[in-house]
């Protein structure tokens, strides 16, 4: 069935809420943002919170430990800075410290990503930072089918999952934070990511499994989220130059699908990681470590932001990886 990215997520949540009374939703402004869930499941299961992230994210941990399965929303992943303790020292530690006897089945839902001019307190990705915490799964869908399947898997998962939805794929976030209803501003929205076919009946997409979006033998572009679409655009251009690029959509940052990464590296011997999260100390370095410790000989390059995301649209474009940047980086790697 054809759905937008945001509809696909809502379908998954509604399905899970109808199946299991323990699934509840709370967070800032959810009476507006999740109006349909509110109308269907009522205010006992869809609850507005004050702007008190430390309290309500921490409360989600307790609620999950004591039998509920909360989906807790922090609006933008940037705001996780305010309440990181609940994830870093609470949610991620319970299972480890209890010797596996106590688990925390919760989903943290947040929007992420830039490309609409809101600057680096509202446009970060932070998946590297979060995935660096053992005990947290982090998923980043790039299209409606995965958004639905990964949300279902996240709700069914018995440990904490951070579910990140990119704002360029999410029509309502872009409407609220980007256009505000105006017709005279535009954003580079990948149409295959914002809307697409979702297989029925709904089924979970396993967390931690990457997907080959385009097969190729000369170079593997490993990426996720909106950058998958930018990479596919670049791969098409590379093909025009006689270069066959493989595009891997990681879908999960943690757990990371090392098997998929290694088989792409072994096949192409050239790996380019495209990351919208910070380049240093993050996902791209992790991919490089996996490849180099495997003994597979592969050349390697990476692109992504090295600095805070600036406000002006043209400066933002320079910092975030676009199709042209990917094309150039891939071309350079092949020439090397």
């Amino acid at each position: 069935m054809r759905m937008t990215f945001s509809q696909a997520i809502e379908e998954a949540i509604a399905y899970a809420m109808a199946q299991d009374e323990r699934v509840i939703v709370f967070g800032e402004d959810v009476h507006l943002l999740r109006m349909n869930l509110l109308a269907r499941f009522g205010p006992q299961r869809v609850m507005n919170t004050p702007i008190s992230e430390s309290a309500f994210l921490g409360a989600a941990v307790g609620a999950a430990m004591a039998g509920l399965r909360p989906i807790v929303e922090v609006m933008l992943v940037d705001f996780i800075g305010v309440c990181l303790d609940a994830l870093l020292n609470q949610a991620a530690k319970v299972e480890a410290f209890s010797g596996g006897r106590w688990r925390v089945p919760m989903v943290v839902r947040a929007s992420c990503g830039g490309g609409y001019g809101d600057a680096g307190q509202h446009e970060q990705c932070l998946w590297g930072l979060l995935a660096g915490i053992p005990g947290l799964a982090v998923v980043v869908p790039s299209n409606p089918a995965d958004a639905c399947g990964l949300m279902l898997a996240s709700i069914l998962n018995n440990s904490p999952v951070v579910f990140l939805e990119h704002k360029l794929l999410s029509d309502y976030w872009l409407l609220y934070l980007g256009s505000g209803g105006r017709k005279n501003v535009s954003f580079d929205v990948p149409s295959d990511g914002a809307e697409g076919e979702v297989p029925l009946p709904l089924s979970a997409v396993p967390i931690g499994s990457a997907k080959v979006r385009r097969a190729g033998k000369d170079i593997a572009i490993i990426t996720l989220g909106v950058s998958v679409h930018r990479a596919l655009e670049a791969a098409e251009k590379l093909w025009g130059r006689g270069i066959e690029a493989e595009v891997i959509d990681l879908r999960s940052v943690s757990p990371l699908d090392s098997e998929a990464i290694l088989s792409a590296a072994a096949k192409t011997r050239r790996v380019l990681v495209v990351d919208e999260d910070y380049l240093g100390f993050g996902l791209s370095g992790e991919v490089a470590a996996i490849i180099s410790s495997s003994g597979i000989q592969s050349s390697f390059a990476r692109i992504g932001p090295l600095q805070a995301i600036p406000y002006a649209r043209h400066l933002e474009d320079e910092v975030l990886p676009g199709a042209d940047d990917i094309f150039r980086a891939a071309f350079d790697l092949i020439q090397r």
């Binding site: 109808a18 009522g42 008190s52 509202h122 209803g181 600036p310 002006a312």
Partner: protein
């Protein structure tokens, strides 16, 4: 308070309003891309507080940071250029309206709700050690009063007896959630419980805010420690431009068509009991009707409320402010329209 001061206050309010309207116009024309949180409706609060600040005093600002900077004397042309994302903007186009940093005025803003609390504590600490007699003020909304770091800041400021004035601009809405539905007790009493004086004032009257701020700021300057001002006001343009709640009011038929169909489908689907479903719909309906009611109450505009005290003089001051600000914004735009 004498009349000349009221005129000055009103003139600052008019300058702030003119700048916000100019920014709104740039946003409507698509020259500003993302969010824009206007401070229209907060002018009386800002004017009443900022009038007491002198060189060396600091301001910790929230995501509605342009009005305090305009009132404090920041360069209008540079502010406008920043909003437009240009290299000659006050932050070289890198900050935008939520992240304005003006070191000469010891003023910094942030898009993270509640963060002006700790920042204000730090500014006040530096003032007490390096610039005795100078103070810091922090501006924030009542939504931020439920943020942990803000409550921690209230405690820390009292514990360290810092020269800091907390200015809470209470418009009754935490983004699109009604604050009274998610807030316990009364905020002026909450602040008092930390052991500092706390005043509740009419935030539509610059003279009333000025009076309360005079007490709070002079006390802080004299080493008496922090104080709290709760000023009731409104946001004439919602949480941000294009606020979904306001769009429903502006285009009820179009918006209801968009919202209505999935909503009806949701209610009809298997889920909660009918009682719960009705409660859910009631919450949506109530939110929209409260917004609609507030819209009709034009008496909530501080420029009208404070302006009434000045009669025709208010119109004159407003026109003066408008032409000053428009000229400065035009300078920023000069030669670059259509870029």
């Amino acid at each position: 308070m004498d009349e000349i001061k009221l005129e000055k206050l009103y003139s600052q309010m008019a300058r702030m309003r003119s700048f916000e309207l100019a920014a709104s116009d740039l946003w409507q024309r698509g020259m500003i891309s993302g969010e824009l949180h206007l401070g229209t409706g907060e002018e009386a609060v800002v004017a009443g507080v900022v009038a007491h600040l002198v060189e060396g005093d600091a301001m910790a600002l929230d995501h509605r940071s342009t009005p305090p900077l305009v009132a404090r004397g920041a360069d209008i042309k540079l502010l406008a250029s920043e909003l437009l994302g240009w290299q000659d903007g006050i932050c070289r186009g890198r900050g935008g309206h939520m992240h304005l940093f003006v070191p000469d005025l010891l003023s910094a803003s942030s898009g993270i709700v509640g963060s002006s609390g700790p920042l204000g504590v730090g500014f006040a600490l530096a003032a007490s050690r390096l610039r005795p007699g100078k103070v810091a003020v922090c501006f924030f909304g009542e939504g931020a009063m439920n943020q942990g770091m803000m409550l921690e800041s209230l405690n820390l400021a009292v514990s360290w007896k810092l020269p800091l004035v907390f200015v809470c601009k209470d418009n009754g809405w935490a983004i699109t959630t009604r604050s009274k539905d998610v807030t316990s007790g009364r905020l002026e009493r909450r602040a008092r419980a930390f052991g500092m004086p706390s005043w509740r004032v009419n935030g539509l009257r610059a003279d009333k805010v000025w009076e309360a701020s005079r007490r709070a700021i002079s006390r802080a300057r004299a080493g008496g420690g922090p104080a709290f001002i709760l000023a009731r006001c409104t946001h004439l343009d919602g949480h941000f431009l294009g606020d979904p709640l306001l769009r429903v009011l502006e285009d009820p038929v179009g918006q209801m068509r968009e919202i209505g169909e999935p909503l009806i489908k949701s209610v009809a689907s298997e889920g909660a009991t009918w009682k719960e479903k009705v409660a859910g719909l009631g919450s949506i309906g109530k939110t929209i009707s409260v917004v609609a009611l507030e819209r009709r109450l034009r008496k909530l505009d501080p420029l009208e409320v404070t302006g009434k005290l000045l009669g025709d003089k208010a119109l004159e001051l407003r026109a003066e402010a408008e032409s000053e600000i428009e000229a400065e914004v035009a300078k920023a735009l000069k030669g670059r329209e259509g870029l």
